[in-house]
Symmetry: D4
Subunit: 252 residues, 8 copies
C-alpha cells in the first residue's frame, strides 16, 4: 500500500508542476490581497497560480489585532465580503469579522474559483527579458531549503503576469528593483495614518513594470504610503482591482 | 479612526473570551482530525471551541507528502470529503485531493457549522478534579509567549470535554499523564504500516479519562499504533467518531 | 473557580485597554526618566499611560554600575529623590542610592500619582497626521510577539503627546524619523563626558515635533550628546522637565 | 568626575558584599512569595538578603494573566495587600489588582522594612555541613556569567536560613536534592486545581531540611501540589508563613 | 527556455521517483561502506538505491584524519581499492590514499555499476510488516525539511532489503529498535582499539532482522565494538560483505 | 597500531602542504567550473591545487533543481560531458544528466588528470604585490576554524595564478576588491535570463587582474550578468576556457 | 616570504606531532591541577604532553571569584606557589594571589620544566587494551572541528599514562566509563563544603584504572566529593601528588 | 571558611578597582603587542593597567598558524624575545617559537615588570574632553554582560594614555572615531604583503589623538596597511615602540 501512496502523490503533483511551468498569472503570497486577486483572476478565465512560502494561508490575518482574534473592514468592501461568504457584525462605523473565518473563506473561495495554490514555495527572483523590458516569470525554491541554508538551484516558472502580494516587504518587487535594470526604489511603508492608507493603497494598486504588479501592502512599500493596522478593506479592494487591471491587460 | 479600530477589536474579542471561559467541548489542534471533529460536534449542537497554537489551519497538511502538494484518502472516507465539499480524483485504489483545498475546506466547513476557532493559543496544561477524577478544562497561553521564553501565567478555560487532536505528540494527554494522578503512558507511534494504522486509529479513537478524548495521530501516540504517512482517511474518520462519542456522552 | 479567575482578569483588563485607547500622554519606557515624567504628568492631572516592553520596571537601573548595585545622583536632583522617598548616602560630591530601592520607588510613586503602567507592550510605530504634521499616538504590539518572530498586526492607541523615554536607542523618535516626513536624524550618543552630558541632557529635553517629546537618554541620541554612565541626576531632571513642558503645552 | 563615580559605586557596593557575606536569612527569588517573606523577615529583626537572578522584581507577575495586566487575590490575603498598600477592586468573589502596582509595592515595602535586595545574581548551589546535616548558605554567580556560558568560579554567602522562593522550578531545593546527601525528590507541580492548590501551598510551606525552607510555587514543586494560575493569595500567605516559621526557628 | 528547463528536470526526476518507489535494496548513507555495498549490489544485478542526507558523498572521509587529507587502509582491502581504481602509497604497514580521490572514486564506481544515488533525502523511519516481522522499506523526507523544522509528512519507498550504512549513529536500526517490536538495543561504539575494531566490524556485518542489514560503523554501534579512527579497510570489507550476503539472501 | 596511523597521515599530508606552499594555479572552489578548470589545467602540465571550503565536491550540483535530482546541459557542452564520461539523455533541446553522476565524475576526472584537491580549507584573503600590481597567492584557514568563530592566524600559499570558482559570491575577487588597491566592484548577478546568461558567462570568463581569474558564476557576479538556474553548460565551458587562458598566460 | 613562513610553521609543528604520537604522559587540560602536574612530571624526566581544548591557559582561573580578579590559596600549598614564583599577600588565614599572575606562571613554569603544551585540541575518546584492561592513549580532534559540528575522524596519540585534569566534568574518565568495559560511575561533585573538599580531593587523587589518573576537580567528580569554590590549594597539591604517583608507577 | 574566602577576594579585588580608577596608561588587549607594551611601560615606571575581554592571554597566538602550534619571528625582534626569555630555533631566515611558550612568557614578564592585568573586561567606549580634544580614559563592562545581552551601565576608568592593542578591529579607535568629534576613518587592513606589513606597522605605531595610541594590528586597521599572517616581529617591535613614545610623552 505504501508504494502506491507515493506513486499517487508524486505523479499527480508532478504533472501539475509541469502544467504550471507556464501560466497566465502567478500571485506571490496567499494573504488577503493575494487570495482576493486570485479569486477574481480565476473567475475571469485566467490560469492562475498562487505561491505561498508558508505551509498555510492568510499572511498576517491569523493573529487578528495584537492577537485579539477579530479584524475590521470598512463598509466599502462589504460586497467583497459577501462574494466570499464571510460573516460580520457592525460595530460603530465598521464591519468586524472573525479572523479565522476571514482567513479560511478567502482561501476556499479562491480555490473554488479555479486558482491553484501551492504551499511551501518561495519566490527568490524573477525571470526577465529586455525586448521590451519586463518580467516573464519567477525563480522558485522550497522554503524549507531557504530556511535550511542549503545551497540548491531554483526552478523557473513562466507567466504573463506576476502579482507581488507578499505584504510590506514587497519581496518580488524588491528583488526586481535590485537585480533588473529598473528605475524603482522600494522605500517601504510610512507610519500609521489609516484613512489615507486605506484610500491610497487602492488608488496606487497596479502595474510596476511590464509583467509585474503590486497589490496590498506591497503597494505601500513601493509608493511609500502610510500603514493602516488590522483593517482590511484596502487589502480586499486592492486585490480585486489588480485582478481587473491584469484581466484587462492580458486580453489586450 | 485608529482608536475606533482598537476599541472594535478589543471589545468584540474580549466578549468572546469571557463567553468561552466555559464551553461544552474544547478541541486542541486545528489539523485534519480536529477540524473534522469540530464540524460534527458543532452540528450536534455543542458549544465547541478549537484552539490552535499556530496562526493557521491544517497541521501537517500544507506540506502534502514530502512537499508534493497532494494527499491521499481512502474510499471509506469519501462521504466525509463530500460533507466538506472537497474535490478529488481517483488514482488506482485511492482518492487524491489537493492539499490546499483539503486544508481550506476543513476549516471553512467547521466554522460554518458553528465551531469557534482561535489561533495563536497553546494549551500548556489541563484543569482537573478528583471527584471523580477527570479533566475539566485547559490552561492556555499565547504561543507567542511560549516561543518568546517569557514567564507569564496562563489563563483557564473550563469545558465538559477536551479533545486532544494535537497529532503524534499527543500534547494534552502527555501533560495529563505527567501531571495528573493517571495511569497512562504515552508511548508514541510505531514505524510505518499504513493499512493497520488507518484501521486501528479509528478503532482506538475515544475517551482516555473522564473529560479527555484522543483523536487522530494522538490516538497512535497513546496506543502505540503504527504511523501511516500522507494518507488521511483515518484522520477524518477518527475526527468524526470522536465527535459522535462525545455527543453521546455529554447528552447522557 | 478557574473560569471566574479568567473572567475577572479579561474583563477588568479589557475595559482598561478600551479606556486607554485614547489618553493625554503615552510615556514609552518605564526607566528612570519615563517613571519620573509619569509621576509629574499624572500629578498635573493628565491621563497618563506608560508602556514598557519588558515585564518589569527600571530600564538599565537594575544592574547598577557594571553590576555593582549602587547608582550615583548629583545634589541638583536631591529634591526629586525626596519626592520619591528614595534614601541615599553622601559620598564625596555625590548622593549614592541602592539600585533596587531606586528602581522600586520610581515605579511605586508614579503609580500612586495615578499613572497607568502596562508591561509587555512594545511601541513599533507612531500614528501621524499632517494638518499640522505631528504624532497622534502609537502602534503597539506584545513584546512576546516581537520576540517570537510571528507576524501579527499591531493595535493603535491615540494620545495628545508621546514621550520617548526608551533610552539611548530613542526607539520612537527613530521610527518617526524614518517613517514620517520629518527632518530629524537620530545620530546617537557620543563618548563619555559626564559633566557636559548631565547638563545638556536636561537643557535639550523637550519637543521634537508636535506630539512627540524626548526625555532621558533619548535626548542624547537625538542631539548627539555625550553619554554619562551610572549617574542618574540628569535622567530625573529630564523626566521632570518633560512633564512640565507637556503639562504647559496641553493646557495651551 | 568619572573616576569619582566609579569609586563611589565600587566602594559602597563592595562594603555591602563583605557585610552580607554572612546574614540571617537569604531569600532566593524576588517574586511574590519571596518579597512577602522578605518584608516580614526584616520586620522581625532578621538580617535579610534577597537575591534575584534577573535585573528586576516580580517573577511572573509582570505578565498578569496571559498578558492581561491584572491579577486575582482571594479575600483571605486582604490583610497582606493592606500591609503593602496595594489597591484592589472587588470582582465577584475575588479581589483584582493591577499587576504593575502589585509588583512595585511588594518590592518597595520589602525594602522599606529593611530587606536588602541584590539583582543579577544567580544561586547555583548551596553550602552544606553534616553535623547536623543542613544548609549553611549559598554559592552565587552573576547571572550574566551564567548566560554568557563563561566558566567562572562562584562566591559564597553564609546564612542561618535559605528560603527557596524561585517558583515552580524550586531551583535551590532541586540542586540540594541532587548534590547533598538528602532524601528529597522534587517532583514538580501537578495540573491545575486552583482551590486545592491555594490551600495546600500554604499548609505545606516551611522547612525542607535544617537551614532550607520552601515558599510559594517551590512548595508545589516539592510536594507535588496542583498549580493555580494567576491568583496570588496563596503566594502572599505562603511568604508570610515562612517568615514566621523562620523567625521562630532562629530565635530558638 | 526557462520553462523547458523546469519541465525537463521535473519530468525526468519524477519518473525515477515513481520507478524507485519499489526497489531491491535501499542503502542509507553514501559513505565508504554504503558506496562499496552499492557497487557490488548493483553489479550483482539488484536494483539498488542509495539515499544520502547531505548534498554530497563520502560521509566522514572528506576531513581525512583531523583535517590532514589522507586516509589509511590495510593491505587486506587492497583488492577493493583496485576495483575502484583508487591509488595509494605504501607507508610502513599501511596503504595511504588521498581522501579526495578515495571519496570521488567510491561514488563514481558505484554509479558506473548501476546504483542510483539520490542526495538531500533523510530516512526518518522504516516500513514494517509482522508476517513475518521485518522491514519492508523506508519513510523518507527532504533533509532540508528536517533542518527547517517544518512539519511535513514523509513519503514511502518499498524495498526487499535496507542497509543501514549511516555510520556510528546507526540511524535506521536505532529508529527500528525504538519503533518496531524488536529486541535490539543500539549500544553505540566503544573506545578505540583499532586492530580489534577492524576485524570484528567485518565479522559482525550482516542481517539485523529480516529486511534490515548493518554495514560499516553501524555494525560497531549495534554490536558495541571498539572504534578505529581514520583507517578504512574495515569499512570497505564490510560494504563488500553486506552486498554478498544480501545478494545471496534475495536470490534465495 | 594507532600511533602508526597517526604518523602515516601526518607525515604524508604535511609533506604535501609543504610541496603546495608554492604551485602554478590555485583553483578556489570544487564546483562545476572549478573542477572543469582543474582537469584541463592539470592536463596542460600545470601544478594545480583546488581548495574547497566544504568536505565534499560539487558546489550547488547535489541539490539538482529545487531538489529534483537532475541537471540540464546545452548541446554546446556535449564534448566536455564526454571528456568526463558523464552520461545523459536528450530531452527536447537539452541534455539531462543525473546530478550525482555529474558531481562524482567532475571530481574523479580532475583528480585523474593530476589536480590535487584539498577539502575543508577556506580562502579568506589573497597575497598581493604592487610591482606590477597583482595577486600572488592566497591566505587560507580551516573552514572549521571559520565556522567555530575562533581567532586563529591563516597560512599562506603562493601561486602564479588564482581562479575564483566560488560561485555567485565571487569570494576571492570580492575580498581582493575590498582589500587590494584595485578598481573593481563586485556587483552581483542579475535576475534570470538563461539564454543571455549562458552565453555571456563564457564570453566574460578570464583575467580580472594579473594573477586572478574568474570562472563560472563568479563571472556573473563580477560582470553583473543574469543568472541561469540549474543549467550547467555555461559552467563547463567557462571552466574549460579559463584553463586555456591561464595555460596560455603562464607559458608566455 | 609568505611561502617560507608556511613551510617553517608546517614543518616544525608536524615534526612535533609525529614525535608526540607516542609519549610517557598526556595531561588533558591546562588548568591549575594539569599545569602543576605537568611541571613536576617533566621535572621527573618524563616526556609530558599537555592537551588543552581552548586556545589559552588556566581553565577557570581567569574569572577569579565571580569575576573579582583574585584567588585564595591555603598555607599548605605555599611551597608550590614558591616553586612557581607566584606572589601572594596574607589575608587572615589565607594567601591571596592575583588571578592573572597565578595563571601565567603556572604555564610558564610547566613549559620551562620541559612539558609540551598544545592548544586547540580536544580529547574525545581514549585508546584501550584489555590485556590487562587499561588506557593506552587518547583520540584527539581540533576543538574547532568539534565546535563547527563538522564530521571529521580523530587522530590517535599513544602514552603510558593519561591524566584527566579537565575539571568538574572529568571528561576523559567520563568517556572511558561509558565506552570501556569499566566499572566506574562518574557521579559529579556535591554541594559546597570547602574544608572537606580541599582535604579529600588531595587524598583521593590518583589512579582510576591502569593508565588513567584523576587530578583536580575531576577527582571530585569521580569520588562525589563536595565542591570548594575559588580556593586553589587543593588543585595545586592534587596536581603535584598525581605527578609523584605517576613517576613512581612508570619507573616501576 | 566559605565566608572568609568571599571576604578575602572581594576586599582585595575591590581595593584594586578603586586604586586603578585612575592610572597612567590603560592598554586594551592582552595580545602580543599589548603585553609587550605593558612590560616596557611598567619598566619605565608608569602605572599600567591591561584590560582583556577574554579570561585568558595571547589574542590570536594560541592557534599558531592555522592551528599548527608554531609562530615565526624575524631576526630584528630577537632582542625582545630574549628580554622575555622566549626560546626559538632558527629556520632559514626566521626564528620559530612555540606558540604556547610565546604566549605564556609575554604575560609572565609583563606582570613581573609591574603591569596589572585584569581579565573579563571589555572596553565599550572612551572618556573624552575637548580642551584640548583627547581621550582621558575608558568605559568598561564585564564581557560576560556584553555576551549575555543584558543592559547594564558601564563604569569609568581615567588614565593619561590609552593604547588600542585590540588587533585588526582597532576596537577602541573605532568607537572613538564614531563617537568623538575626530577626523579619523578606520579603514581596516589590506590583503597580505608580509614584508611591507611588518615594516610599516612599526613605522606607523604611535599617537592617534591626544591620549589615544595604536599598537600592533590596530595600526594596520587605522592606516590601511597590508596584513602579514603568523609572523610576530612587527607586533613585538610595535609594542615596544608605543611604550617608548608614551613614556616620552607622559614625562613631557
Amino acid at each position: 500500500m505504501e508504494a502506491e501512496i507515493t506513486k499517487a502523490i508524486v505523479e499527480t503533483a508532478s504533472e501539475e508542476w509541469v502544467e504550471y511551468a507556464e501560466s497566465d498569472v502567478i500571485v506571490v503570497g496567499a494573504g488577503p490581497s493575494g487570495l482576493t486577486a486570485a479569486k477574481y483572476l480565476a473567475e475571469s478565465g485566467l490560469k492562475t497560480l498562487v505561491l505561498e512560502r508558508r505551509l498555510s494561508f492568510g499572511g498576517g490575518i491569523g493573529g487578528g489585532g495584537m492577537l485579539f482574534h477579530k479584524v475590521v473592514i470598512e463598509r466599502e468592501a462589504k460586497d467583497i465580503l459577501d462574494d466570499f461568504g464571510i460573516r460580520y457584525v457592525e460595530h460603530r462605523n465598521f464591519l468586524v469579522a472573525d479572523s479565522a473565518e476571514f482567513m479560511a473563506k478567502l482561501a476556499t473561495k479562491a480555490i473554488d474559483a479555479g486558482a491553484k495554490i501551492i504551499h511551501g514555495v518561495s519566490v527568490e527572483d524573477v525571470i526577465f527579458r529586455d525586448d521590451p523590458l519586463g518580467v516573464r516569470g519567477v525563480c522558485i525554491q522550497w522554503s524549507a531549503v531557504e530556511i535550511s541554508g542549503l545551497h540548491v538551484d531554483p526552478l523557473f516558472l513562466r507567466s504573463r503576469a506576476v502579482v507581488d502580494a507578499t505584504g510590506h516587504d514587497a519581496e518580488v518587487i524588491s528583488v526586481a528593483a535590485r537585480k533588473m535594470p529598473l528605475d524603482i526604489t522600494v522605500t517601504g511603508e510610512r507610519s500609521a495614518y489609516s484613512e489615507v492608507a486605506e484610500k491610497e493603497i487602492v488608488e496606487k494598486t497596479g502595474k510596476v513594470v511590464k509583467g509585474l504588479y503590486a497589490a496590498g501592502m506591497a503597494v505601500a512599500a513601493v509608493h511609500n504610503l502610510p500603514r493602516m493596522g488590522p483593517i482590511f478593506g484596502g487589502m480586499l479592494l486592492s486585490g480585486k482591482k489588480v485582478a481587473e487591471i491584469i484581466a484587462e491587460n492580458l486580453k489586450a
